[in-house]
Amino acid sequence: MPEHFNNNGDQGNLEVLRFFLEAQGLQVSATDDAAVADFVLVGDASRAAISHHEQELTRLISVLSSRIAKGLPTLLVGSSYEFFIGKIAELGTHARTTRVSEFRSVTPTAELTVMGYRNSELASGDVQLFGGFIATTLYGPILAKNPELLDLLLLRLGAERANWPEDMLEFVAKIRSEISSD
């Protein structure tokens, strides 16, 4: 099932977390039980997948609401995020407008700029933060391209900030520079 929620490489965020957690000597294992997981990812999915898995997604509402209330590390992305808008009160209501498909820089807090690609009709709410709970229209491997956001999650998971290999950090800097000038 996770493969159905990987439209734009969102599952790559798990690889990024695993990469840095294991580098710190922490063991990582996967579970399909969102209630006990330290980190939960619900990635972007096709309309067919959202429709097919609607019941399972609906069953997640109470777990996700609880995780928002506690600020637990979670990443809710793209069409899955949009599925829960209107079903989880904390995510708010967001008007819909003409679809915009573009790279975007978003500043959910004064200290944090999150960059990524969005393709959505939502007029607002590109990145919402509830402690370690992130709901976003920015899909793909955003943790790989946003070291500060990654650190936010790592610290919430009880780990240390990411220790990036120098070459990888250079790639990230170039990517962010290109998005900024886009």
Partner: protein
């Protein structure tokens, strides 16, 4: 007068661009000519007696078109087609300009055009389609199409507008569509082409069984006739290319009275479309080129690497608008990539490094990456590149047609 001006200015622009950039600039003359005479394309197509055949779908358009054109030509037909990957309106107009007289007239027996699925849905309402060949639906170009459902709808429009429609019976996204007429179909011999090798956009619905009259095998194509099958031997092809070849043979059967001997002879001669699994000679070295256009084709090409490719260059060009999908490709079989190139080189390099792949040089400028690659030694130089990077590197290496 309008047509004359459109053709004249279009041809002039084409000439000037080709003087400055040999092998390049196919779209701009088309834009100019189409602006002056929007009916140029339709008028030219309507003048072709054998009618218009279009090939569309997420993948396999160029190969299928190329195979079909070659098979028709082998039967003595003069075929108008859009060479290179000029498969949107301006590219098609540019193709007209390249071969028309100053009145915009072209002298061919039949037209076989590769159509981009998005532009094709619009063109289908303007041009009379004799036969539409629909290859497949993949989860592809989501930044542009949003969802495979959108692609399915666009392909449906093309099929509905066409006189006849020929579809891939292995792709239930296509089998489920109501074209307002019974579609013809080509399919796969599942004993020879395993289901796992033919994967299409996620679809949880039923797979309507369509009887197909042409079947692709690993190194054969079978045409099922009334009481008698014709089995053609082909070169051994990967599953997706075998399906493309089956589509072309099926289309041929729909269009003309075939000569089995001619078909057999041509099938054994067919070469892959340029840059798709192609071997070229550059600076006295053989180089393997592989075009990767979406997650499926990138993964398939990676899976086909045997491990002795050295030096290896991967390129992600400007055509990859949002490179997020690179993270759906599994690169973990690679140990090292000598050169990562193209506009999205940093994204690709970052993806590779997170999968534990060593990365040598990372060069954003495609031509510089091409030069760096040629300086490296190794017995089996291999390049996997997206369409934009392919065009730039081929032109730089003097391979542009």
């Amino acid at each position: 007068m309008r047509t004359f001006l459109a053709v004249m200015f279009g041809k002039l622009a084409r000439l000037l661009i080709r003087l400055v950039r040999p092998g390049g600039g196919s779209a701009l003359p088309g834009v100019i000519a189409n602006k002056i005479q929007p009916k140029l394309l339709a008028n030219a197509i309507r003048s072709i007696p054998g009618g218009l055949v279009v090939v569309s779908g997420s993948a396999g358009k160029s190969s299928t078109t190329s195979y079909l054109v070659s098979l028709l030509q082998s039967h003595g037909l003069r075929v108008f087609t859009n060479t290179s990957t000029a498969n949107i309106r301006q590219g098609l107009v540019a193709a007209i300009l390249a071969q028309s007289d100053l009145r915009g007239r072209i002298d061919f027996d039949i037209a076989v055009l590769e159509w981009d699925e998005g532009h094709g849905a619009v063109l289908a309402k303007e041009l009379p389609i004799k036969l539409a060949v629909l290859t497949n639906v993949l989860s592809d170009q989501l930044d542009r199409f949003v969802d495979p459902e959108v692609v399915i709808e666009m392909l449906k429009i093309i099929g509905v507008e066409a006189g006849s429609v020929l579809i891939n019976a292995e792709d239930k996204n296509l089998c489920q569509l109501d074209f307002g007429k019974t579609p013809l179909a080509f399919g796969a011999d599942r004993n020879q082409l395993p289901p796992g090798e033919l994967s299409y956009a996620l679809n949880f619905g039923a797979h309507p069984a369509l009887s197909h009259f042409v079947t692709a095998g690993a190194s054969s194509v079978t045409v099922h006739g009334l009481g008698k099958d014709s089995v053609y031997q082909t070169v051994a092809l990967p599953s997706h290319q075998a399906m493309n070849l089956a589509a072309a043979v099926a289309a041929l059967e729909c269009l003309i009275e075939v000569d089995p001997d001619v078909v057999q002879s041509r099938l054994l001669e067919l070469k892959p479309v340029f840059a798709r699994n192609e071997r070229v000679v550059v600076a006295d070295r053989h180089i393997d080129l592989r075009l990767v256009q979406n997650p499926t084709s990138f993964q398939k090409n990676l899976d086909e690497l045997v491990g002795d490719e050295l030096p290896l260059m991967l390129m992600a060009g400007r055509d990859i608008h949002d490179p997020s999908w690179l993270w759906t490709v599994d690169f973990s079989k690679l140990n090292r990539v000598e050169v990562v190139g193209g506009f999205n080189a940093s994204d690709l390099a970052l993806r590779l490094r997170f999968q534990g792949v060593e990365v040598g040089q990372v060069i954003t400028e495609a031509t510089e990456a091409g030069d760096a690659f040629l300086r490296l030694s190794g017995a089996r130089p291999t390049v996997l590149f997206s369409a934009d990077a392919m065009r730039r590197v081929r032109r730089h290496w003097g391979l542009a047609k």
